[in-house]
């Protein structure tokens, strides 16, 4: 399930619904990203996030399909906030359920790398020294490149 919304979400409640629905799938991995309080040593007072409605959701659905082909996963949930966010607020959450933990960890890791480097979101940091549009760090591109080098692990 994919949800892009300006409404806040509650990570604990989302995990609860997801893991209950997953039933006896042995392994559930979740990733939660929150707005940080500082960036480049400057205090961050907020974020503004925009997306391309319809197009962004469809491109995320495609990457979820890729993950489902690559790993034996039972279910996936991707939630992404847009609009104005304040430090400490949840911005993104990915949950993956699978029979075994390796699949769940790798698929969640893969989906996050994609959301960081490919998904159509644009993020502006509102800092004490002004506003700045953010671009992925080198580490993000390097992380995303990992999945091109290796196939599915056992």
């Amino acid at each position: 399930m994919i949800r892009v919304s300006a409404d806040p979400f509650d990570p604990g409640a989302e995990l609860s619904v997801f893991e209950t629905r997953a039933g006896a799938a042995g392994a559930v991995v979740s990733f939660l990203g929150k707005v940080r309080e500082s960036a480049a040593d400057k205090t961050v007072s907020g974020l503004y996030l925009e997306h391309y409605p319809g197009v962004t959701e469809r491109s995320i659905a495609e990457i979820e399909e890729q993950a489902r082909k690559r790993w034996a996963i039972d279910d996936a949930l991707i939630i992404h906030r847009v609009g104005e966010l304040r430090p400490g607020e949840p911005i993104v959450m990915v949950c993956v359920a699978a029979a075994h933990r390796r699949e769940a960890f790798e698929a969640a890791d893969f989906l996050m790398d994609y959301l960081k480097t490919e998904a159509m979101f644009w993020k502006k940091e509102i800092r004490e020294d002004g506003e700045a549009w953010i671009e992925p760090r080198d580490a993000d591109y390097k992380d995303a490149a990992r999945w091109k080098e290796k196939g599915r692990k056992g």
């Binding site: 996030l49 925009e50 391309y52 992404h80 996050m112 979101f121 549009w133």
Partner: protein, 83 residues
């Protein structure tokens, strides 16, 4: 009129998130559109020409030489930053 969408820092450069533009007969491709927009606003033209900019035509990824017309929605995307 074609509908042009600008995202992120490109909206700042364009001074708007959307613009409706009547494409002249000399504007056949995305590249032509960038040239036309750059004639009115050199800074915008330069921002749209950065090699990191990607294009979407009618919700599908397109190349710079993609044909466009007055019925189309054309989006300019700077580098993304989700998550």
């Amino acid at each position: 009129m074609a509908r042009i969408l600008f995202f992120g820092k490109l909206a700042d450069a364009a001074g708007a998130r959307t613009r409706n533009v009547a494409l002249g007969s000399e504007t056949q491709t995305i590249g032509d559109l960038v040239t036309a927009l750059g004639r009115d606003d050199a800074a915008l033209g330069q921002a749209l020409s950065e090699k990191s900019v990607r294009y979407i035509v009618n919700e599908l990824v397109a190349e710079r030489n993609a044909a466009i017309g007055d019925e189309d929605e054309i989006a300019f995307l700077p580098p993304v930053s989700g998550g």
